[in-house]
Amino acid sequence: MAAASWLTSPLSPDDYLGLLDPLWSARHPAGRVTAVLPEGPAAATLVIRPGRGWRGHLAGQYLPVGVEIDGVRHWRTYSITSPPAEAVAITVKAQRGGRVSPHLVHRTGSGTVLRLGPAQGEFVLPQPLPERLLFVTAGSGITPVMGMLRTLAGRPGPVPHTVLLHSAPWPEECLFRAGLALLETQVSWLTVHLTYTRTDGRLTPDRIAELCPDWRRRDAWVCGPSGLLDAAERSWTAQGVRKRLRVERFRLAPLPPRGGDAVSAPVRFARSGVETDAGPAVPLLEVGEAAGVTMPYGCRRGICFGCLAPLAAGRVRDLRTGEVHAEPGELIQTCVNAAAGPLALDL
């Protein structure tokens, strides 16, 4: 490929492959929709056959999907609902007034090509599996958990006992209702409690304790609206079992910088010769744009990788996880990373 790139310069051979079939491009990975399965009136599962650039996924991870609507590519993330061994599937609920999700649910058919980002996220099953599992989900928070349940169901050998507490507004809007009922009858290790907000009220920590009395002794995964996540975090922390809890937030909530050292750091844009100061919680993309540097960008939420820039010196902090990472030379996502001390970008 490197030798062929001299012949296709300034393009890469990948650009020609992608033109023949978008699924052959490794630089801009894509997948083709092979089936659209309705999941109730306003949701659908899209089965996607990924192309050459696909690097695989773990159950519970999310997938950035690039959808073309009226010529413009929009990026959104959806949880993967299929086990790693099978074709990639995402289950999308059409948001009222939304642009992308209704398009995917109602106006996307077999054969549609979607751009794919790499599967991401830490909301996954550990190896080895813990002794007992608890999943607490509400609304479309069930989607990453569905991927994990299907993975557990496909495992050879014994599976740890698992409780799923899922809340939906009412039965018609409950994703995977039939599938969950069927799975529960097929396997012995799964207990499912469905609760409906319209009749039962919200899924609160008290109700969780009532439905699953041994919740403190289970490894727990919680996914749903931020009210549920916040309540779960308070409850698990109060009982001293916060370490057993994993939460997945669908919305990007930038973390404050660690410690009290909230001072700005000097940032240098090496190629444009611009120097400025960066606040510890401001994405480098915004820092650069405010300083007048032409910054590459895509979707600005950490999912499409259009904003990658080489780090020349220094380290950055990921605003999603709070982690300080990246070594000089590494490509960093400027839209979700802030300066962790003085640094230079090759821009």
Binding site: L7, L11, R27, R73, M295, P296
Partner: protein
Amino acid sequence: MPTTVAPLSDPAPAAPDADRTEQLGRELDRLRAEVVAARGADDARYIRTVIAVQRGCEAGGRAALAVSLFPPAWMAGTALLAIAKTLENMELGHNVLHGQWDWLADPAIHSTTWEWDFASPADAWKRTHNHLHHTYTNVVGRDRDLGYTILRMSPHQPWRPYHALQPVYAALLAPVFEWGIALYDLEADAVTQGRKSVRAFLRDASGLARKAVRQAAKDYVLFPLLAGPSALPCLVGALTANTARNIWAHTVIFCGHFPGEVQTFTEERLADETRGEWYVRQIQGSANIEGGPLLHVLTGNLSHQIEHHLYPDLPSNRYARLAPRVREICGRYGLPYVTGPLWRQYASMWGRVLRHALPSHAGLGSRDDGGVERAVDDAPGEVRQV
């Protein structure tokens, strides 16, 4: 054909009065907003089609040149490669690097990621072209594209004895235009004037060297080697295609700003320039080429140079539909809309190269091609409109 129209509202001003100018600005802003709102799937399909056709021509041309000992293969290969390079350079490279397609949000067709099959690296060109040329269009001393630092194209530029030979330089530049642009983008004159550091110059020069090696290696070494017994005709084919593309690019670009009736401006014109005045300067400083759809595509729609200068970041495929409306607006505001068939714009451009090879004084409008060239401080008795 040109027709002489009545003088402007008062005795021959260079532009409409201030209120009218701002009204014009708002009208042109509305036209822009209309196109921005209408951009959609058809435009996306257009650019992707051009990309597919261009890459198809390139692959086909290379394949044919690989067996170019056979003369018809040489003819076809050279022609396909020349078309591919022209499309790549003009309708794709120039326009993508202007950010015309950034709204697609496709990282593969984006001004920040695109690199083109042209000697000048995209970054260097975006600085001199998008920033300097499009901001300071036809302003003597600010727009370095006004003669590319070697030619004298305006009575406001001081005459030097070396200008006497400028018809020769202009002719010699055409076949090697991409290399001329690449050297020009290094801005060596800015280093001698202290506007650019030696360090920045060396950095740009090494960037150019890297690009140049790959460009030359591909066309003149690697593909000929792969062609085996057809090596020599393959090399000659690539050289011919590049030369044809260069002469064509030179032609289109010189016809966009240098036909006789296009105006040049002094730096005073820039002082406190409003949006409306900026639009007026872009109109007065650009010229269109008339022709069919094929001509427009092969010029990268720079045949609609006036529309391009008003809206450099709107998708190029929209210019043709904007042109009659811009022309109508120009007519209503008494502004010139310089346009004509390629042969006439080309002849007029050469007339200007020849005319300014000889000393002349600013303020003395001189006639050429039956048109009137005015500098801003001229007071011509008539305005020609076409």
